[in-house]
Symmetry: T
């Protein structure tokens, strides 16, 4: 990380499978428009309940990427 | 969520399988007595260690449900 | 936990598989030098991104163990 | 508040008018089933956006009431 | 705590004697209606001042109990 | 919110009328360049004082919008 | 704010009308004894409940003023 | 607390006897110069260690008093 | 504290008598292996409930000691 | 700041010289693409250690700029 | 700190040189009216940006002083 | 950081020169007994005041190092 400068953005991914998969989806979607992503940090783990069960997971991550 | 009113309760579920499963157990148990559950939010992820390994996971979730 | 005294340490485990596995790795490594571990609590969930995907997970846990 | 004992519950009220009105709605609804309410504290102020405008406000309050 | 599910409630106890006694009063009152209480955690310690002295202590505890 | 991915941004709106109006101004301005806004959350409520009175309110909101 | 030095104080204002009005009352009262007030920040929003309705609002603000 | 305005100050009291006594000392000293004190809230509990034992307790309280 | 360097550790002490006594037990146990302890700070106050009463108190303190 | 609307972004700057210089680098880099920057706030101060010494500092700042 | 009682105040100092200098300015100004200052703690580090560079630093410190 | 496991410790360094130098002293002292230090994070910045000026700075850092 030496003399580089990084920007952080906050993305919320969803998944019906689990919390790790919601994070993968958030990063996968961010990769469409952001390059040089370096790290992520979980900010919040929530989810939607339907019929008394977890409907889908919603995990918010802060993603850091290098500014060229 | 328009004009509805919601109440939140805090439930801790356990599981020997993993953190997501502990959440599913918390919500499944809450469904025995609470209706119209709408969302959850992870408050704390802990666990018990036995013989130098994770014995079981204990995840505390805040659960929101609609008041009729 | 009656009249015992406990000490807490903070360990970060890594895994390419997922967040629960990173916790298991942290506790497994701690077991090399610490005995009587009793509980853990997740402090922070982060990870490294490589090629627009999660490269590995890094989960920091506080681990409590009984002082003899 | 001398020698009394109080219980706190967490309620989220909604309103299309504003944040204060969402609090009033939360307390009004809680009054249907809870007596001797004494104080409230704002925990979170959120809202829903529709067509680029605030659709409705959602304010979560912790409400304290005296146990008889 | 293995496979059990727990619920947490928040209770504020008062006492003219001291902060520990306010906690004992909170738990004693909760025992009137809640069974299988397992642990507590102090959330806030406040008090009322009268004539330039502590009039009474008010300690809020989160109490966890097992759901049968 | 099922399988969608959301991004959050942080906007501060101002108003001489009140805190709710400052939020409306923040969201109205954000609508100039952001589509599919779904929710907001109040992060901070501040203001400027002039001549011993509130000059204007400044409310910072986190705004979530769906990535197409 | 260039080379100035500021002091912050914490004031709680009350109002039966609403939360913004409680802030105005806090600042108006502070103006009796403090000069050069520059900004405020909301620290806590609480209130008193009477007969199942909001009796009055109590908003605590941190107020910054320039030291001459 | 109806239409009154309150100011809060932060005081740290010390005691060799215990944490409650440190709070009593803080309030007793504040009473020398402040009138109409109404409530306190514990902000921090610390202490000094001498010869491997608690030398004295240092408890910081926020104290609220009514402005006339 | 001039030019010294300090290390902090986290210890949880227990007591059936009260919260202050749990702190004394934590520090007394730490004194078995740590020298030059200088200060402590309360991190968390919890406890175990048995038969509807406080079974024992568990107080976690951060302890700072001078590195020689 | 009267009737303007502001956006905040989060930038991490690095420096081998010190923490203030890392902030200057973050703002200097942000100035390449953002205009009307008005204020910053330090969110986190970290750094990398190499050979038992500070290799470089990494300071994360939230930067607010006016939306035209 | 034995049996003394301390009061804390919050002061924001400014400097065009750097964050440490802003703290020195805050304490130097406080020394005009407060005696027996004993310690400080950084609460917030902010600053003003002018022409894409740090214009001046603004650091808020909590300052503790002994009450005679 | 791939498959490694890290431990974190908390160290407070002092300096009469400034906050960055206090961090350097903390890390330099830790290097006497800890190897493979990788990163640090500032936890708290405090200091001692003597004769109305900063006597020395005390900065607490969390230091992470790789377990072999």
């Amino acid at each position: 990380m030496s003399e580089h400068v990084y920007k952080s953005i906050e993305i919320t991914g969803s998944s019906t499978k689990g919390s790790d998969d919601a994070i993968r989806n958030a990063i996968s979607k961010a990769a469409d428009s952001v390059h040089n992503m370096d790290w992520f940090e979980v900010v919040e783990t929530r989810g939607h309940i339907a019929d008394g069960k977890v409907g889908h997971w919603q995990v918010t991550v802060k993603i850091g990427f290098r500014l060229d």
